[in-house]
Symmetry: D2
Subunit: 335 residues, 4 copies
């Protein structure tokens, strides 16, 4: 299937391009960026472009919108312009997006294949309600993606409460999002909007599909988001209350979590690995960035704590949407 990547020169866009290089099902045909980049070769704009895209001429967004002529769109544009662009494209095309613009629409899924693949059915709701031939499927906010993979393993025990403190990497703020003078030798406990996203997206993702919309999961959740001087890889300290489950059972649930192992998605990697001391620099590239690492599990009587770390640009962004598209393809939503 022929693919376009929108916002192909940003941090998330580059990750899309890198992950789609040599993909067995999807072939990137258009690299779309701002007018400033249009007409230039991708390899001139992006230092570490995969060889096969080095000479591809970048298309401007307006030009692309006039005649998309692809089968799938991956969107890494900023939220500020995504709502309109996605709405327009979804009239005829499937859109897999990292932007938050449509995440909170009741008929748009925030999808993490290992967690809530049944939410894909919202595609039908979208098409009916909005009269679209295409659709929009979003991946969650980066911290949320990493958190929900770990929470999904615990769902069977009845999640009642989550307190999570995040230690997020610099690359989550975009290439120029964070001044070196601000973050070096420092922790900045303020990431605007992040805590709201973690709290609300995770309950939607872990919620139940109720016909035409998702009923959010009912656990209480409170997040404190901080930025730390790490290049890639968000780390999260999680305190969780469960209705039942011993330490051994919870540990076993983490270690055996592998819900889609049989499905044969090309990018699929074991979503969760248990290690004694998860660390972003050592573990962010596990499973080509799609595996999150859980560890430091302790607790009893339904009250536990653990640490989870994962790659914010892969599991937390582009990699999530690529998995989403693979799942949709496998389940027949792309023809």
């Amino acid at each position: 299937m022929r693919v376009a990547v929108l916002g192909a020169t940003g941090m998330v866009g580059r990750t899309f391009v890198r992950l789609l290089a040599g993909h067995p099902w999807f072939r990137v045909e258009k690299l779309v960026a701002s007018e400033r980049s249009a007409g230039r070769k991708y390899g001139e704009l992006v230092d570490d472009s995969p060889e096969e895209f080095r000479d591809v001429e970048v298309t401007s967004l307006p030009e692309f919108l006039r005649d998309p002529d692809v089968d799938i769109v991956f969107n890494a544009l900023p939220a500020s312009i995504s709502r309109e662009v996605e709405g327009e494209l979804a009239q005829s095309l499937p859109v897999f997006t990292n932007a938050r613009s449509h995440r909170y629409d009741p008929d748009v899924p925030i999808l993490v294949p290992e967690v809530n693949l049944e939410h894909l059915e919202l595609i039908e709701v979208q098409r009916e309600r909005r009269g679209w031939e295409g659709f929009i499927v979003t991946n969650p906010n980066c911290s949320t993606a990493i958190l929900t993979v770990s929470l999904a393993a615990l769902r069977g025990f009845g999640i009642r409460e989550v307190k999570v403190a995040t230690m997020q990497a610099i690359s989550g703020a975009g290439y120029s999002g964070l001044s070196a003078l601000a973050i070096q030798d420092n922790v900045i406990p303020s990431i605007p909007g992040e805590e709201w996203k973690i709290e609300n997206e995770s309950r939607k993702i872990l919620g139940e599909l109720d016909g035409v919309e998702v009923k959010p999961a009912e656990f209480r959740i409170s997040a404190m988001a901080t930025r730390v001087p790490v290049l890639h890889g968000h780390t999260e300290a999680v305190f969780v209350k469960l209705e039942e489950g011993s330490l051994e059972e919870v540990r076993e649930a983490f270690e055996s979590f592998d819900p889609l192992g049989e499905l044969g998605l090309p990018s699929y990697e074991r979503p969760l690995v248990y290690s004694d001391v998860p660390q972003p620099r050592l573990h962010r590239d596990r499973g080509r960035g799609l595996t999150v690492t859980v560890g430091r599990l302790e607790g009893s009587s339904g009250s536990f704590k653990y640490v989870v770390t994962g790659h914010n640009l892969v599991r937390g962004a582009a990699g999530g949407s690529v998995l989403n598209a693979e799942l949709a393809y496998k389940l027949g939503y792309l023809k």
Copy 2:
């Protein structure tokens, strides 16, 4: 009063020396260190020695123990040798210590003047039980000191539960405690023993003196300790459940917390300042390192979150013990 600093060349020992330089009540007479350093000038061993101690000859520990001849001892020796050394010295001398060796003895206070000054009465218990003329007063573990200052402001609301994730600075591990290759571009969520200390020391400090020992406070507490690439200043994300109190009342409690303002202790600084976004590099030196900065307070209905940051070597170690000694002097325990 004539003072000795034990372990004067380590990270905490240097901080003692720096804080005691020019002190109006205490005059450092002996700088005690290992045999390896003995006989050398302090300024040769410690780059940033205060001018007045640059030419002081370092005393070896065995030599000091043979004839202490001072009025007060500040101890920054490692825990491994402190238990014995402190026990011997306390027979005749007041010992203010950063070592954990005696912290969990029922008749030894873990003192934070702004939080539990009444625990000083344990000195009498010690003297009676152990037949000492001196005594031992400990300061808490670094993360605990910073946390308890913030919790003390909330005590009036009835603390029921605390979840705390720490982001601790490199200097907390001692000068050579952490390899650059381990921590650069990384978070290490593992600090052996730290979580136990935070959980147990904070309940003892906030507990009630019950005649001859402290009854620990009854709130539940769970800590996850991580190391981050910051030089000095521990940052903590705190989730707290209170029996009562609105957001405004809690904020007001933080802003007005100043329990010892009238006492006239020379090192005393406002123990807590509220700022929107507390950050270790910007705020660790507030109040010469004795002020902790609280911020990011949010919540309602008895469930709140906030961030606190403070200097681990000052508020969390040497500065705490200097305040303890000043308090003891003021209250007549040193003669």
Copy 3:
């Protein structure tokens, strides 16, 4: 004397304000910044404002230019607007500036008091040629300031060639000048314009005043400038060829360099201290940021190498201009 600081909210501007707080000769009366900041209190804009300026209302540049009403101007505006602003102000006022705009005018001195105080005489040339009542005195580029202090100590041996590789701190790029993602775990050997400035400014500074202009010193000089992940403090590896001088003599020249010790300038600190291993984090604040630290001197037969480190915002910017103004005051150029 009443002083205005232009560009008072930037990195260099803040340093001016901090250094001028409590100054015995100069009293800051106006803090000038962009229209965006005008009307707000300085303490709201600048976290670490000295107490005495916290409530000062910031003046906009256009408003200031309409009626300066001060005795001295310190300029920390960007070069892009400085040329015009400085030219206008110098018609009636002494301007001490960190901007490069006028540095290369033949009748404008690049002044480092310990190195070329006699270049101050160019003030008369300016006044005559340009019909000004005021004048412009510039301080050098940050790397150049640090380098020339060390070279000045060697002038007596006849400098023939200088090769210098700089390792410059992040704060030299301004508050938002450098993305954390660019510099973390990296060295960036590219600082546009920097090498030209080092090569040309140092020869002008060490040159000889020849009546109405400076004849540049004749040594060959080549610089390679790199950015490293250090907050403050530029470090420079210097290879120098001298016409004469033994290792001992060169060392002695460094150790005894103190040309203005007798002059009584309030901010004056020993400009150069010799240490075995100069390091930016340990030594940048020496002499309140005005002392550069030299070390690692080796060599023979006129061919030497050494390292020099100094504070880029103090010795390399604001501190240099404050010293310049003190010198001008002392020598009677300000009335």
Copy 4:
């Protein structure tokens, strides 16, 4: 051929093991380390062990020395014990070593295949003089390896003088070699022994084989070595004087340098690539760590400056020795 790696658990040893995994000519049979590690599985000791070595039991050095039973030895042991161990092994086996112990013996080559492959002939001299059946071939010090690759490209222009300032990565100091508190937010211009090695090894490597020993190249060279907060990748600012050559010719010499392209060594990668702004984090993994990146070339009239960066553990250590062994194999020195 059957291979042993000595010191397999250290930084350089791990790099040997990673580079030899799946090698077409060499098969690692023994992983040798200290007695402390002996008997344990390699995967337990080394987090990021290649899959194929995870279950290999580590051999102790004494046990290995009793009965080596391999065809080739790669040595990553510390210098302190290498001299004796290498001497013993070379009686019967070819030893390719990263240790400096034998580098300065007249009959032992410091080999960089792209620079001085003819020095391999010293193997015959060794065998004759020492009565060995095996031999010792060393790779240079890390900074020297990176520097000499770039200098080799310039040899044709007649090198007269080299001044080099290095900015070396943390991993060059070994896993625990550098305290985080020492290097964070700092530059440390002191690496004991490094400058002597750079100055002497580079002249030996670029020297001429004169029958039974190497006549060092005659250019003057002076090095200043500094440590910077970078994980991997040494960066060097080089000032070089040449007898002839224009800027264009020198640039062309860098861009076309590829001396062994035809030889078919399995690990061979283009040794040198020219980029505008070489940077360790972006370029250290080029050519799987064997390619050095040169850039920022400027100059004229025989006086030039440039920057070179390369991976200290690969090009500067293990990768160099693997290339050396491949060359020796290809040229028939291993049977």
